[in-house]
Symmetry: D2
Subunit: 351 residues, 4 copies
């Protein structure tokens, strides 16, 4: 590395910092030949929808939205009236990082927040919230949303997902899965996407494309087709219908056909594990959560965190002062190791 | 053309059928190098915003949204409370083709529709609507929106724009310009974008990128910076903040730096003129509106229109049975001429 | 009348100018004894609901809202999603006098307006609007709303109502009736409320109490009980659940049990007919619409209208310069005759 | 008391169970003479507004809404855009008992909830919430709402109110006061309404009429007149403009002119104190909060609470199993004492 090169050349503050992966790019390039009907009436959108149906081994309804904020909020709005409520964890993205988007799209549905120090909802927490009130002075519980993997990098097991779905069915609640990093959960669990979703009882999945290597776009997958009624109108009215839809849908074709969707997720997960392995047991440094997907959350002395910043490493500060590192499809092990080295060096200086 | 080739190879049903232009593509390619901060905190977004400020010769506030539905609706929502109303023409896209998006984003602002057979608002029509009611039982007029060029392919002259702005100022109304094809109006009028907008009295412009050759994205340009207060929050909440924003902003850099934004618009306009020139005066065929931008609207005998469909030409049916043809940045004069030839042939058969 | 008395002592500008009728007052007085559970869990609300079920001869769902704006808007919101549309006449109150309330409560449902010079919707107009568009770029038609009697004082006959309901059923639309003066239509037609509503195909009725002699309050009556699902939550969230509900419901008990609801309406209708009879055929004076309920709409020379104003008579100016006179439960024939006399005198002066 | 009389004849489950007080009734009766212009353009509404301006010793803007849900939600909506947030206590009525009304009226404003075991907000809690986030991914804090007295029956002192207002001013937040029982706070503190509100820094007050003896209606009082811009349109659109407004406004004239608003509050407070005095120190019975207004919250053994229910006493169960008793303008000391006697008896049986 020459003296003038920036250090580090890669950041792990967010998996949104990565660009477009080669497979998505190739599909966009291919899709950019000649003319195509607008608003999703094109072959690429048909192919992408079919590919998702094939991946999920069921005749689900598929829609493409621009980003996760909209995908999740529109899906929840499709399930809720304004006087309904959505049960979520206190660390869920819909609660902490969407600037009130779910409330906006649904015209007022309230989020009922279960305190979840590790970001995971449990059947017990769902039941407690769903049954806490049953009078008309409080929004009526209607949906449970879980993030898979969670915002803390944890993965719901098949059993955990099924248990949550069971309590939802018992209580008459729908189950929505925020899967902005769904591929990473599949990579961790090694099971079929169908097993993790509709076979486990999930009604709607928002499957993230952006964090999987696309420029823009998420797929909203309705396993319960009745819930998808008029969802195309909803997307249109909410400014989520792309005129040149092929550029949102084609990347899915490339990602799914090539298996890149899973390969990239595995790579990202492996980079997280690689970092975790190198910092585990360091004096004063603690993994805040088991590393199960593509994120590492470290609690470390303030001198270590300030030292990382001084060395040029970016990261989000998590609850209680931890540092979040996220790995994308293009994370370079060289730089993962560089980060680990810096952490080790800083930690040893403190100890 | 070999016998097996589809005929026609290019369609002019919509300028949304075209793909990504080379200049936009090149910028995306260049932007897809390495990592970049998310949510617009990247250099490409800074450069694109600066390029737009430079183009408009003023320190305007710039935001990037995914599509025109959202750009226009969010801009109007920023100007309106739910009990306000928006004056528009009866052929305006916000009235006829946004599935109630302006009402949705603003939580109920009503569109006050001026009947406009040619799609153009006039100061008289604005005044009549704005002054028709002043009681609290009717939404309070707050904004005028004009489409430049109109949905009928007409261009507001500088004088017309200024006259509309004058009546807006007099009546305390804001002036919004839906510029999904703004470049085409600039190409027609040959004047500076600043002259057509803020110097003429426009408060907010939604500048279309998609119809100018981008994959996705529109720029919302606030000339009155006070109106842009918290617009970033508004975009975020409404699902219009791209995480990998550079892919929305970089194409603007390429389009503007190269002059392609204007060159493409001129080409599209020229193709419209080319078609118009070849069908003008045909028996039974009539140009519904003067051809001033990139659209041609034809009234023709039903046999002609059915004949075009039979030959494989797609088009939208316009009010009263006309046919709309729109030309994009990549319109091929060969196919424009082929369309003209088919129209002539069919018209002569009818006559 | 002494010289110092105001002239006229009664105005017919609006039937909202009248106060509380004796029967409603007596019920409020009786209800104001001791304590009662809040939010509608009281005996008066139970009795009022039962009285309405009895009146309509069916097990309908009944809710009480504060005013017509809310009753109609909430009922429409219960039938619509934000991307739906509501077919109404161009003179309907929801279009002309609710300040965008239907759009607000539904979060954006658009009103599709059928031009109706006399205020009446027709099956043809409904069909034309409902079938004009079927693409996702335009709000999906979902409900038809008719005002019975209309804002022009006309009454839909049983046959007309049934014909409208038939086209609704055929096209998959729900039928809502704005009955802010429903009693007056019953008085005119002399048929059972059930015949005019659910037996004719009406799904939801907003039955006006205020214009029938109450201080405040309208009944929302769902004949299709499935449509009433969670309507209590909707009322609560929208600020339409009265804590001391008995004062909204008790007047219904008094009005219905005594037959006053119909007697008052007959009286008001008779006063309208009385005025009409005295001005019919006057030179230059024209009844804009047949007088079928409690309103009289007069077209008259400007000198006549100005003369009325000069004499102290208030009225709303209707489309094209007409004068609207509305008669309430307490209209005094003495003053009706005084108004007629003044019109005759002024008209003769002009002629 | 005869054997057949119900026991108890009066309930203290809610101060909404009481009817209309004599002074409000007398004003309604007086207002129900003859005709009056609709929608607030009547003399009673003018008189009521003036009476409130006089009470508050300032030229405030006054509006009348139907109930507290709407008054508070509309006031907050007037202060907020959809992407703003409202800081409130975890026990505030807007958070716990309005079924998402604030979110509905504002189209998505989020409530930021400060955990407040006694229901009171503090400057520290406000500062912590207001400063916790300042990025666009989280709703922007804009308003603080405090309930005076709180839902736990506590009263903010003048100093506490001023301290909260000071932190609001420092942080650029507006201060809203939910005063559904505002009269009771005035009665407790014995200071001028002006001191408790605008002189202390309150921008908007929702002054409760219903709990003060009216049938229906709350006054929304804007001390900062600029914040009231177009509030009349907002009320109309949201279904909160009464056509026969005089029946909402006249009771205010009666209550204020006679001093009954304060006298009734004092009586209700005294009844609460009377109960508290008789149960203080009972074995196993605990006052959950100091009794400062018209509510008493008791923690008591389950046998005591069940025993009260068995004896016919109604009450709301409060957090952690407490019992809430609220006293209205018409609370009868005889029945207050009867309740106290029953509690004592039951408590002694347990001890």
């Amino acid at each position: 590395m020459a003296a003038s090169d920036p250090y580090p050349a890669q950041q792990f503050a967010s998996d949104n910092y990565a660009g477009i992966c080669p497979e998505a790019w190739a599909s966009m390039l291919e899709a950019n030949q000649g003319h195509a009907p607008a608003y999703g009436n094109d072959l690429w959108t048909q192919r992408a929808s079919d590919a998702l149906r094939s991946l999920f081994e069921t005749d689900c309804e598929v829609f493409f939205a621009f980003n996760g904020t909209a995908a999740n909020s529109l899906a929840l709005a499709a399930l809720c009236q304004s006087y309904h409520s959505v049960i979520c964890s206190s660390l869920s993205h819909v609660e902490t990082d969407e600037c009130g988007a779910p409330e906006f799209f649904s015209n007022g549905s309230k989020l009922l927040v279960a305190s979840a120090p590790d970001g995971k909802l449990t059947p017990q927490a769902i039941r407690a919230l769903a049954c806490s009130r049953s009078d008309i002075h409080f929004p009526k519980p209607r949906v449970v949303t879980i993030t898979q993997p969670t915002e803390t990098g944890l993965v719901y097991s098949l059993e955990q997902t099924r248990a949550i779905a069971a309590v939802c069915r018992e209580l008459g609640l729908k189950l929505h899965m925020d899967g902005s990093r769904f591929a990473h959960a599949c990579a961790t669990l090694g099971c079929a996407p169908a097993d993790l979703t509709w076979r486990a009882g999930v009604d709607v999945l928002c499957f993230g494309g952006t964090k999987n290597g696309m420029a823009v776009g998420e797929a909203v997958v309705f396993f319960d087709r009745a819930l998808a009624e008029d969802f195309d109108y909803r997307c249109k009215q909410a400014g989520q219908l792309a005129s040149k839809m092929r550029f949102l849908s084609a990347p899915w074709v490339g990602l799914l056909a090539s298996g890149a969707w899973l390969r990239h997720a595995r790579h990202a997960n492996a980079c997280a594990a690689r970092l975790a392995a190198q910092v585990r047991g360091l004096a004063g440094v603690e993994l805040m959560f088991p590393v199960q997907a593509n994120g590492v959350f470290l609690r470390a002395p303030v001198e270590v965190l300030q030292g990382l910043t001084a060395k040029g490493w970016g990261f989000y500060t998590f609850i209680g002062g931890g540092a979040r590192f996220m790995f994308a499809w293009d994370a370079d092990p060289v730089w993962v190791d560089a980060l680990a080295r810096d952490i080790r060096e800083l930690a040893s200086g403190v100890a």
